[in-house]
Structure formats: structure tokens, C-alpha cells
Amino acid sequence: MNQLPPDVPAPYPVIDPLECKSCGRCVMVCPKKVLELGDELNARGYAFTRYKGAGCIGCLNCFYACPEPNAIKVHLPAKET
Amino acid sequence: MATQLIKGNTAVVVGALYAGCDSFFGYPITPASEILHEAAKRFPQAGRRMVQAESEEAAINMVYGAATTGRRAMTASSGPGISLKSEGISYLSGAQLPAVVVDIMRAGPGLGNIGPEQGDYNQVVKGGGHGNYRCLVLAPANVQEMCDLTIRAFELAHKWRMVAFVLADGVLGQMIEPLRFPETSTTPVTDVNWAVDGTAETRLNVVTSIFLDFDQQEAFNRLLQDKYAQVEAAEQDSEAYRLEDAEIALVAYGISARIAQGAVDAARAEGLRVGLFRPITLYPFPKDALREFVAPGGRQLVCVEMSNGQLRDDVKLAIDCACPVHLVNRMGGNLVTEEDILARSRELARSAGGRE
């Protein structure tokens, strides 16, 4: 896995466990394979997706592939100028 | 005041334009086509929109779209086209959208013929589409009323957020009479409380007819029925002709009422106490006035219609069968004749006790 130097702020996805319907589209499209379906069920009964915690490159694939409007946000750090 | 000799169908377009109608959507059908022709000519002259739709279904749905934006919109057709519009009329009613539909009735069922008939009464007055809805129904009897009741139809449609019909027949559509032009014109104002017109002000609004929840759907149905009850209290309209001392009242609307009026005069000339009760609103049916007439007892009603007793059934309902209700009718494109009405009036007067 392509580790970024620790002092450079990294992009990261935020998955709302409640909104995820566990379809797996984000897992399928993540080029870095840093998303996974967990075993834990949310209040609506879905085994929601989790971010493994590191390795996101901010490609937004998961955001666009996710059909649920409120399930995924992606944080992108400010661009260096 | 200006008067012109004008065709009934043309008078509808005059009324629509002075009422501030923004758009007309139609599809050709005899005997309503002149409304489309005249709209094609006149609407653009006043900057209004007219589209010849691909079908009556499309036309009524274009009306649905225009009505969604809060504008005054209309369509016109005859029986076969009204059948196709029924889906859209149910949706308009479910979404509480105001619109005006003109039906120039011809003979049916099926393709029938283009002669005048009044066989669309049930379809229009009872609602030809699905669900617990009603439409306001106005029944003109002359060219003047083709215009004036079209104007009233727009006012009522927007006042109650309902579909308002102008229900006429081939004779009224095709005949020419003098029309006194309206003295004023209306500049309509969009009701931003419910319209969706593509502006910031109405962005939060939604026009829909779905309630997935049964209780919500029922509550909406009750709300509609409450509205209809108010309409029934407020909007009944009728006209009485030589009714004060009548023992027999002819009940007729539209062209049949005019023929019946002639029969009243002829009967009176023979000393028969015959009068005419003419509903101007078919929904709400003017039952209060009709009940008042039959209340003293000893009176009889004769429904004169160009249909199979559809009006008669409503008359019976309106008066709770409080007195005998007879039927003189023709169908298929034929008109009732004064002679038929007169003959029946004589017969009834005789059997009612030899009164003269």
C-alpha cells in the first residue's frame, strides 16, 4: 500500500454507518481497496462499509458510485500552492 | 358593449381569452374542432400558447403541466376524446390542479356519429376517471353562455382548485348567435402557495397525487369530500322559466332546455301549467332549488334529455324520489322535439286529474 508521508494531510472517506445499504459498489470501485464491508449491522439492518483507515487517494470513485445520497462524503485536503 | 354574431365554439375561445387563459392544448374532433381552430388563430395573437397535441391524452397532460405552473389552461374535445382525457382529469383532481375542459358532446357510444347528444353526462358529471373526485360542470344553453360560462369555469376552477367542465353539445358548438363581448379581461395571478413555476418562490412546492400511506390517502379523500360539500353549498345555479304556478316541470339543460322552453310556451298556450327548470351547474346539481319546487307536493317532473335517462337519474337522487320523474328523450344525434314534449305534458296533465 502506497503510504503517504505522515506530515502531509491525506484525503479520506467518511461513511455514515446508518446510511449505508451494504451494496458494495464503493468497495468494487475503490482503486486502493481501502474499503470493506464489515460484519456489524446498522440500525436498519445493513452490514455497512468501513474505511480501513489509511490509503485513500481521494479519487472520489466511491462517492460517485454510491447510490445513497447521504452515505459517503470524501474529505480532500487543501491543495498545496 | 360590443356584440358580434359568433359560433358557439368560437365564443368559448373568446371567453377563455378574456378570462386570462394562458394556454390551449387540443386535438381535432368534430363537433369541437372550431375551438381548436379558433385557439390556433387567436391565442398567439395575444401572446398566449396553443399546441396541437398528439392525442387527447397528451393534451390533457399538457394542461396538467401548464396548470402545475399556476397558469390558466384548457382543452376541448368531444366524447371519444373526453374518454381519453379521463386519466388526466383524475390526476388533475388528485393533485388539486385547476383546469378547464370543454366537451362538445356528440353521439356515442364508440365512434357513434357527430350529431348532437348529451350522453357524456355521467362521464363528465360523475367523473369518468378513477377515484373519489368530482368536477365542476357548467351547462350553457346559448352562445352567450358558451362564453360567459367558460369565464366562470376558469374562476371556479381556480377558486376551488378543481377541474371545471363546460358541457355543451354539437348544436351549441356549431350554432351562431349574437355574443355580447365581455366587459373586462382578467390578468390572472399565480397562487404561489401551491404552484410550481420554476422560480425560487415556489421551489419548495410539490404537485402530486400520491399518498402511499392508507390513512393519509383517506384523509386526503375526506379533505376532497369536504371541499365538494362546500362547493355544493356555494355554487348551485339554475334558471326557472314559468315555474311559479307550474304543476309539471320540465327539467333540461343545454340545447334540450331551449327546445323544452318552446314546449313550455306551447303548453301554456293550451292552458297546461307547465314550466321549465334548467340546471346551469350540473355539478353541483341545483338540488336545493329543485327540492323547493317539488316540496309542496302534487307536482311532476319530466326530464328532457338527449341521453338514456342519465339526467333523470340525477334528478331522482336530487329530490329523493319525492315525486314522479318522467323521461322524454332522444339519442343518436336526434334532438328532442317540442311536439314530443308537448304530447307527454298533455298526457301527464290529463292523468293528474283532468286539470287544464
Partner: protein, 474 residues
């Protein structure tokens, strides 16, 4: 500054949905309807179009699109979105109309509305979800179902002999001249999804600029009814649907297209009065004169003999003279080639029935008409018939006069005005007691704007009237 990429153009919560989960869509897990919603919403937000936009929710799984789009919303009948969009767009020139439809809705029940709106080039962006089945109703065959595909209503697979072939909507619409933009897209990999995003944006830019019709077909599966997980669904789209329905931009005329501007309504009474020429074309109001006799006149002849306009001239004359009057024609196809007739009633009191059954006067221009209507002439009534049909023996009590109408018209200077000649004869012998001025006004009005025709008809009228005044009625 850190940027957070999140859904835009859709509501944050969905209270219209009701129930417990008002932050989630009603779509099945993995269904790409939500992806399309997000892309449309994002483009609307980026283009700053939400205030101007009205999204049309169809009947199908997209029926509740109005739960989500933060725009004006309208829900419509199955298949009728294009017609509703037409009505909206025609009345609100500035509105951005977005129609969101499935394949049952757009390509089956609404095919006519779809093609006709496209052909008129309506200002609508259509987003067409082709998922090869009817989703909402439980997976029936759609017009777009692939050959061999099993659905509930094609349990052995779609058989083209029974059910035809998959309908290619983008290609069909590409046969029409008016559409500005036509594309077919899918989300089956991220490159395709990004191209889809561009196409959606393009369709909405065209609406922003009021340039006309844009059609974006979006291929997707229905994981629920096709019983597929998202990987199988994605493969189905990529390996089967995209083979049948090739992706691409079929047309892009956005650059050349010019904005379509609809007229503004003019509500002024003066405008309407002018349109109807109320300053020049006006008649006096009828005067109540109960003692004046009522005349019921029947006129009949071949279509093309001017029978109907003869009646209108007479009615107009009576109207100009302050009578109550009506005119009622035979109408419809029978006018063509066949016989035509009309009835004119003039009276000192409001006209009851406009029908002329028993007539005071019959004007017959041909023999079939004569035979049809002669028996309805009242005793003491008058028959005027065209002399060209030869001798006629009227029933007892009916006065009859043969009128050489065509000759009188020729002599008067206009061979085509036999009907006006009859009016001249009626003026002399009808017994109406209408002022000559009224006839002249009626003729002038009837041919308004055609001065030479007016003059010719007035001449024929004068000549025929003079002729008639010298005739002896029996």
C-alpha cells in the same frame, strides 16, 4: 482549505418520504437510480439551476424522485411526463424542465408522448433509465428487455417472434430533426460514469440556455428483479446491455442551437378587443319586440353552393336590424360534396330552439334538398327554388317561386354569387321587414376585407332584389 465532496442539489433529509428512515432513499440496495439522482443534483447545483428547475417524477421506481430533488417538483401519470413537460415549458419560458423516466414509462406507455415532444424539440432534459425491466411492478418484460432475457412475463426468455426486439430509444430519437443532444451512457466503470456525468451536465446546460430537447439514456440493471448482486449487475450492463445498446454521444448540436423563446401573454382588454375587431365589427343589441313575427327559414343545397353563408348573411342582417337571431348548420363531413343546410331563426324575443323543423320559408338550391325539406314548409309558407331544377309543384298552401339565381348573379356581375342573389330575393319577398341598410351591412361584413367582392355581391343583391320586386307570388 479542506474540501468535502458530498451530495448536492438533493434535499439533506427526505421528510416527504415519511416513515423511519428519512435520510435514505426508497431505492433497493445497489440500484443505480440513486447514482443518477446524485449526478443530476450535482449538475443542477453547479449550474445554479435549482430555483429554475421543475423535476417531473414518473410512474415507476422513480415515482418518488420528488422526495429528493431540491427543486420544484411534479409527479405525473404513467408515461405522460413529456406532455406535462411540454405544458410546463410552454407556459414558463424560463423554467428548466427535467423529466426522469423508466423504460416502461418512456418507451412503452409513453412512447407517443416521448417521440412527439422530442420531435417538437421541447425544452426538456429527459433522463431515461433503461434497466430492461419494469422495476416497480415486479420485473415484467419491458420494450428494452434483451432477446432471450427471462422476466416474469417472458419466463422462457424474450422471444422476438412473440415480443419483438429491444427498442433502441436513443437511435429512434436520433431519427428526428429537432433534438439538440442525444447520448447513451452507463455507470459500468468509472470512466463511463465520468462521461455520463458530462452528458448529464450538457443536457442541463442546454436547458439553462433554453436551447431545446436533450435526451440522455442511462443503462443500468435492476438488481432486485434480475436477482443480481452489484458485481453481476455491473457485468450485465457492460457485457450484455452495452453490446445491444452502444454507448456514446449520438448527437450534439448544443453549440449551433439557438435559444427558443416563447411569447409573453398579453392580458389587456384593449388587445383582445382589437384582435376581435370590436371597433369595426359590431352589431346592435337585440330589441325586445314581442309583437314582431318569428321567421324560421331553412336553406339547403349542394355543399359549395354557398348555402351556409347565405344563411349567415340573412342572420347577420336580422342581427344588424336588432332582431334576436340564430343560425344552425348541418355540420361535419357531410358538408363535403354532399348536401348542406342551415336554419335561420329571427324573432322579436329570444330564440328558443335554433332548429328549423317547421319552416316559414324554404330556400332550395337543388332537388334533393327540395325533396327533403319541402314537406316541412308550413301552410302559407314560401318556397324559393333555383329555376335550374325545373318546374316544381308545391303542396297546397305553399307559395312557390322559381328563382334564376345563377342568371341573376351573372347579370349582377358575379356568377359565383347565386346565394347572394337568393338573399336579394328574400329581401324583396321574405316579408321580414328588415331595412335595406342592414342587408348591405351584412354583405359588407360577410366579405370584410375584400372590397371588390363586397361591391360585386352588393350589385348582385340589388339586381336580384329588383327582379324579385317585379315577380308575382301566387
Amino acid at each position: 482549505m479542506e474540501q468535502v465532496v458530498q451530495t448536492r442539489g438533493l434535499y439533506k433529509t427526505f421528510p416527504r418520504k415519511g416513515g423511519a428512515a428519512q435520510t435514505a432513499t426508497h431505492y433497493c440496495p445497489g440500484c443505480e437510480h440513486g447514482v443518477l439522482h446524485k449526478l443530476i443534483g450535482e449538475a443542477l447545483a453547479d449550474l445554479d439551476l435549482q430555483d429554475r428547475t421543475i423535476v417531473i417524477s414518473p410512474v415507476g421506481c422513480g415515482v418518488f424522485a420528488y422526495y429528493y430533488f431540491d427543486t420544484g417538483n411534479v409527479q405525473v401519470a404513467h408515461g405522460r411526463a413529456a406532455a406535462v413537460g411540454t405544458g410546463i415549458s410552454r407556459t414558463q419560458n424560463n423554467a428548466v424542465v427535467v423529466s426522469y423516466q423508466g423504460d416502461g414509462d418512456l418507451a412503452s406507455i409513453g412512447l407517443n408522448e416521448t417521440l412527439q415532444a422530442a420531435n417538437r424539440g421541447e425544452k426538456i432534459a429527459v433522463f431515461f433509465v433503461n434497466n430492461t425491466v419494469y422495476g416497480m411492478t415486479g420485473g415484467q418484460m419491458a420494450p428494452t428487455t434483451l432477446v432471450g432475457s427471462k422476466t416474469i412475463t417472458s419466463p422462457e426468455g424474450r422471444d422476438p417472434v412473440q415480443a419483438g426486439y429491444p427498442l433502441h430509444m436513443a437511435e429512434l430519437i436520433n431519427q428526428l430533426r429537432a433534438p439538440v443532444y442525444i447520448a447513451r451512457v452507463s455507470f459500468s466503470n468509472m470512466g463511463k460514469l465520468r462521461r455520463a456525468r458530462q452528458a448529464i451536465r450538457k443536457a442541463l446546460e442546454i436547458q439553462r440556455d433554453g436551447k431545446g430537447y436533450a435526451f440522455v439514456e442511462v443503462l443500468m440493471a435492476c438488481p432486485t428483479n434480475q436477482k443480481m448482486n452489484v458485481e453481476e449487475a455491473t457485468r450485465f450492463v457492460a457485457e450484455q446491455m452495452e453490446v445491444e445498446y452502444p454507448l456514446g454521444v449520438l448527437r450534439d448540436r448544443a453549440a449551433e442551437a439557438v435559444p427558443i423563446v416563447r411569447s409573453e401573454s398579453d392580458y389587456a382588454k384593449e388587445t383582445l378587443d382589437r384582435i376581435f375587431s370590436l371597433d369595426t365589427d359590431r352589431a346592435p343589441d337585440a330589441q325586445l319586440t314581442p309583437d314582431a313575427p318569428t321567421f324560421r327559414v331553412k336553406m339547403a343545397g349542394f355543399g359549395g353552393q354557398g348555402v351556409l353563408s347565405m344563411g349567415i348573411i340573412l342572420a347577420r342582417t336580422a342581427c344588424q336590424a336588432g332582431k334576436f337571431v340564430s343560425w344552425y348548420p348541418s355540420y361535419g363531413p357531410e358538408q363535403r360534396g354532399g348536401t348542406a343546410n342551415c336554419g335561420v331563426v329571427m324573432s322579436g324575443t329570444p330564440v328558443g330552439t335554433p332548429l328549423v323543423t317547421a319552416s316559414d320559408i324554404l330556400v332550395a338550391m337543388n332537388r334533393p334538398s327540395l325533396e327533403k325539406f319541402l314537406r316541412d314548409v308550413k301552410p302559407g309558407g314560401l318556397l324559393l327554388y333555383d329555376a335550374a331544377m325545373g318546374e316544381v309543384t308545391p303542396p297546397a298552401g305553399v307559395r312557390a317561386l322559381a328563382v334564376p339565381a345563377t342568371r341573376l348573379a351573372q347579370e349582377g356581375g358575379s356568377a359565383r354569387a347565386a346565394n347572394t342573389a337568393m338573399v336579394g330575393v328574400l329581401a324583396a319577398l321574405g316579408g321580414f321587414d328588415l331595412p335595406e341598410r342592414a342587408y348591405r351591412e351584412a354583405i359588407t361584413c360577410n366579405f370584410a376585407g375584400k372590397d371588390a367582392v363586397v361591391q360585386a355581391n352588393l350589385a348582385v343583391f340589388d339586381h336580384a332584389r329588383a327582379w324579385a320586386l317585379e315577380q308575382e307570388l301566387p
